[in-house]
Symmetry: C2
Subunit: 428 residues, 2 copies
């Protein structure tokens, strides 16, 4: 029997606690599968669940000291945050010749490339399966399982909080604010929800996915990001009427104009598989020239699924599998041209809140005509003369820059009494 893999865990929050529990409860099967033991050798944390059994591993008050300990082979960084102590510990672990496993999407989205360079120079591994889509082994799938494909598009539901909120809005007919409050009470949303509901979390994950899928350096700044705060119950109801559901998608696509990275709410056809991914579930769809399409679905967060992903990286390391962090050896990473959002073309759903009075439709139609945007349908249900009603427009394909001008002109109409709401229709 080979020597055990000596693991140091820095950070014992939800995920760290899950990793400690998993390593304890699955010690036997992990040893069977890897042919060697996965030993929790050391831990470090500012605070932790008092019920966690920490009698075996050595305790470090200082995570940096843990990262320097010569009796540790792998450091698992579960502290969180793009910079600060998480980054320092990650760098120190690699500098000290230890492989690094992390669930930290912000760290990888911001500093993944420099960490991978350091790891390559040190001859150690950098692994981050847990950083994207929790328990779904999507990094492995893209980097290994689908490695024979030229991927054309990778997209998914990468934020369970948003998907939970949108699903609840769909099922209950309630509005965003009320459902968010409930999600906070249930622990599905943070007290400060902006990281989730404004799309930032999904953008971090998308930047990583894009890098692995297309073999280019992660570029968080190139991600177009919109959240779900502006989605109303009206939009969900109208989308349903037109045969769609509303999902916050994170999309990386190879276009003739370069690589697109976008996080924004989308109307997706009801019969698309991803339209049925509800609640806190995540899903990723990979489209490639030989597989056509493969879909991966599971829990995108939570103690168990994320610990499962962290440990899958440890299993790879224990088996001495050496895998390129971003799908290709770093020397082969190529910065592809980036497509600007202004040139993105799709169909659009636009909701205007208008005063119900004669001539509104004519004004709106004239603006669309002047910008050469074709209308697929316009709906204004019900009458409320002199009162405010929603007016829904579905366009044919149009350029983003053009739609920006159209929305500006809509907003200037006196009869339009709220900023227009635009949702892109994604063809899946």
């Amino acid at each position: 029997m080979s020597q055990g893999l000596r693991i140091g865990v820095a950070g014992l929050g939800t995920v760290g606690g899950g990793v400690v529990r998993l390593l304890a409860s699955q010690a036997d099967i992990l040893e069977q599968r890897c042919g060697r033991r996965l030993e929790l050798a050391a831990v470090s944390a500012l605070e932790h669940d008092p019920e966690l059994d920490l009698s075996a591993p050595r305790w470090f008050d200082d995570a940096l000291a843990l990262a320097a300990d010569p009796e540790i082979d792998v450091v698992v960084e579960l502290i969180g945050g793009a910079d600060g102590i998480a980054k320092t510990v990650a760098e120190a672990a690699i500098a000290n010749g230890k492989s690094l496993v992390t669930a930290n999407k912000a760290l990888i989205a911001h500093h993944g490339l420099e960490l991978a360079r350091a790891a390559e120079a040190a001859g150690v591994e950098l692994c981050f399966e847990a950083a994207v889509a929790g328990g779904i082994p999507i990094i492995k799938a893209l980097r290994e399982g689908l490695a024979g494909n030229r991927l054309s598009r990778v997209y998914g539901i990468l934020n369970g909080t948003c998907n939970y909120i949108l699903t609840e809005m769909q099922e209950s007919g309630r509005n965003f604010a009320g459902v968010l409050q409930e999600a906070q009470a249930l622990g599905y949303a943070e007290a400060d929800p902006s990281f989730d509901v404004d799309g930032v979390d999904a953008a971090h994950k998308l930047a990583i996915l894009t890098s692995v899928a297309f073999g280019c350096p992660a570029d968080l700044g190139a991600v177009h990001v919109e959240g779900i705060r502006e989605i109303s119950a009206i939009d969900i109801a109208y989308a349903a009427e037109f045969g769609y559901r509303i999902k916050l998608l994170a999309i990386a696509a190879k276009t003739e104009r370069g690589i697109e990275q976008r996080v924004h709410p989308c109307l997706v056809a009801k019969n698309a598989p991803i339209a049925h991914v509800d609640g806190v579930f995540n899903a990723v769809v990979a489209e490639g020239d030989f597989i056509d399409q493969a879909i991966f679905e599971g829990h995108g967060a939570g103690r168990g699924p994320t610990a499962s992903a962290v440990v899958s990286d440890l299993v790879d390391i224990a088996r001495d599998n050496r895998l390129p962090a971003f799908g290709v050896p770093l020397e082969n990473l190529v910065a592809h041209p980036l497509a600007t959002m202004a040139d993105h073309v799709c169909e659009y759903y636009v909701r205007l809140m208008v005063l119900d009075q004669p001539g509104v439709m004519a004004d709106i139609a004239a603006i669309l005509r002047d910008e050469s945007v074709s209308i697929e349908s316009v709906v204004q249900r019900g009458r409320a003369p002199g009162d405010v009603v929603p007016l829904i427009i579905i366009t044919h394909d149009a350029r983003e820059a053009v739609m920006g001008r159209v929305l500006g002109k809509f907003g200037q109409l006196e009869v339009v009494i709220e900023p227009p709401c635009l949702i892109r229709i994604e063809t899946l």
Copy 2:
């Protein structure tokens, strides 16, 4: 740059042709991803698509000679069949110190263990990602991505032909025979469809999945197998009425009584994710203690997806990843106790074709009472006095052995004029 990986392909049918095309069209990205070239060095086949470009590889009339060629590192066996030349070539390749990649589910289900033993002794790899679920990287997911979990159940739609037929029956209301004929005309079903529609193909795949999921030797003989020939349009319509869809599932489950392996039609709740997997698509659901549930969906057959799976194995080999064929080193494979089908417990859907006359329901209810099977519901729609009508029974949980006796007694009733149709309800 390392030396290229020299590949010999034996068998140039649909999948072999796909592999040749993939290696040619993706040569650049494969080299980028692996850090070395994947070279098609040699081929052998009885016949092949004349449009296939075979100008570069050496040609062998005899696949055994290819398997012995010292200038080849890996043999890809795509001949097919559990025995005969496919097995001989596989054994020869391994004996000659070459890794073996195969898409041959029958070969692995029957002889996987002895091939893995030979490969381990020879220090080469045995890979068969393409043998199960085509383009879905499910072997990798179970063996690596979910390796931190104790899996409790793995189930899926593993035969696209059956799923296509059942989907068409569902959507058109037509019966099995007509839809099968159409599927044959479209090339979705073979002239002799029994391998698919009788569940044999799914059973091969399930035996492999079970082995990888639970770390036990594949045991094809332990799989309970039923096909879809007995499913009628009536069953699909009634299932829908009760909130179900009918799918041919392949299920491996760890129960208190041992490991269950079953391939049979199931009623699955309409809101289960797998209920929405339609047409020729395959899907696999893995349930484990840390991930809860992960779902993998994609094309289960066809040239492109299967070639993608074959090449993912070649990528692993090119990257020098050494992975245990069945999820654990062979010395750690454990033959778990097997659960007998007679002890399986579930709810059942039973359809009887009965003469519409007084007293039928009383006879049926008495039989169920005598065997202590509780009824969830009984439905006999419409009246046709003296004529034949379907009578549908949904039971509460009952043992398979008991239901066998119940069905025998039903069959003896004079008013029952066709053999009863029983479909298990799978709780997902």
